[in-house]
Amino acid sequence: MTSSMLLDLAPLVADPTGLDSGDTAWLLAASALVLLMAPGLALFYGGMVRSKSVLNMMMMTFGSLAVISIVWVLVGYSIAFGDDLGLGLVGNPTQYAGLSQLMSEDSNGDSAVPLILFAVFQGLFCVITGALVSGAIADRARFGSWMVFVSIWTLVVYAPIAHWIFDFSAGDHVGGWMANNLEVIDFAGGTAVEITSGASGLALALVLGRRIGFGKDPMRPHNLTLVMLGAGLLWFGWFGFNAGSALGANQTAAVVFTTTLLAGAAGALGWLGVERLRDGHATSLGAASGLVSGLVAITPSCASVSPVGAIVMGAVAGVFCALAVGLKYRFGYDDSLDVVGVHLVGGLIGTFGIGLLATAAAPTGVDGLFYGGGVDQLGRQLLGGGAVFVYAFVVSGIIGLVVDKAMGFRIDEEHELSGIDLVIHAETAYDLHATAGARSGSGVLGGSAASREEER
């Protein structure tokens, strides 16, 4: 290293704006981990649908990643984290539009991490939340309509809720009502991410209606190895999601890392226990679903409970989510991949559970009911979680109905039966026929496909 380079680095060491290189490095890495949850979710969901619709399932996640990232930077971040326009409901949508205001180091104020990095980190939360919703409408949604829905949803549903719950007042910046007035504890998104995705998914499942043959035809997962791999990647990414929400490389991040590990583990055991007792077998889909349930529940509570509290939280979520996924058959709504059963129920357990299991020894420093804190925090959690559910459900339903009216949300019956991948994306995921080779595209009729390829 030359001496001139050393001189160049000198200002970074004694940064006048207060940036911390360790904190910034961790948040950069954590943001990349959160991005990895998108392909993780695509595998998790993709393996659970039938082989004729796996590409569409994955494309709804990758489509969300593409469109939400852009919508978030253009306007979404400002609605969520701009100065409040009054009543703590919504931020100023033009304040950081396009994020160009956050390019200079001066824009960081006394933050230890660059605000533009914080903006992108939060944007990836929105990506995951939007992608989660798509699990409720597997096999039957038009891709263009989905992209329009999720763009509007980002601005009208997610960004305001993120403002309520994640935007803390500081200095002359005024934030959202839940974070500052109601003082709901939601460290990494039990309300904003999990309850929102579950409520929005439920609304969309009702707007689109049941798949043909729901509850009658076997709709088996077509590839459980993809589901297992996806669940593992989600867990890995979740460390960025939760421990990254500490916004620094510090003790809080380390505690959160620990509770995140334990809740996922306990969630898997809880779900498997229910299956073993009820059905006689511990299934791989149960293990994958259970660990995700535990992670969902620890998302809001990861900085509020002890390691043992995290085990309890995860196990309770694993057990209750395993029981809750059967509700759709009883009530007749086709939440295809159990966004409600896993994310809404798990999110409610985690959000309400803080009111019971929180301990003042944890980073958030509040005692829940079981630690002698009374019902005060529980009341705040119930009100916060309930409000997010109602808002996300109602507004997502309205957006869904408008999109359905304007452009049609559901594919034709004939195409749904033959498979959405072929009609919407002009592709099939797997070509496993022995006859498929250089001379033929896919099976018996491959010859005509080959000739059309030559014409291009």
């Binding site: 088996r220 299956e275 889909l285 059967g326």
Partner: protein, 112 residues
Amino acid sequence: MKLVTAVIKPHKWEDVREALETFGVTGMTVSEVSGYGRQKGHTEVYRGAEYDIALVPKIRIEIVVDDDDAADIVGIVVKTAQTGRIGDGKVWVSPIETVIRVRTGDRDEAAL
């Protein structure tokens, strides 16, 4: 000439092939098929939801043989594929009118 068709359990396929080869059978057509008989299908459970899977995977073997060999070959398949449990499969024999070897144009017995 006769067509011997056997539908057997997949895990018995290697045993049956070896036994037939030992007897002197030089070729056969094998396919992975699914179906059900008296045993019906089975049940699978995904996230607590039980699915009745009607079709059970099987192996179908087709061999064209001399009239004289048909009974022996049926005997070998039945003996080798038998486990004594439900779902062992079926073997049946049907008459064949003509056989032609595509490479040479040989007909009937010469084509076997």
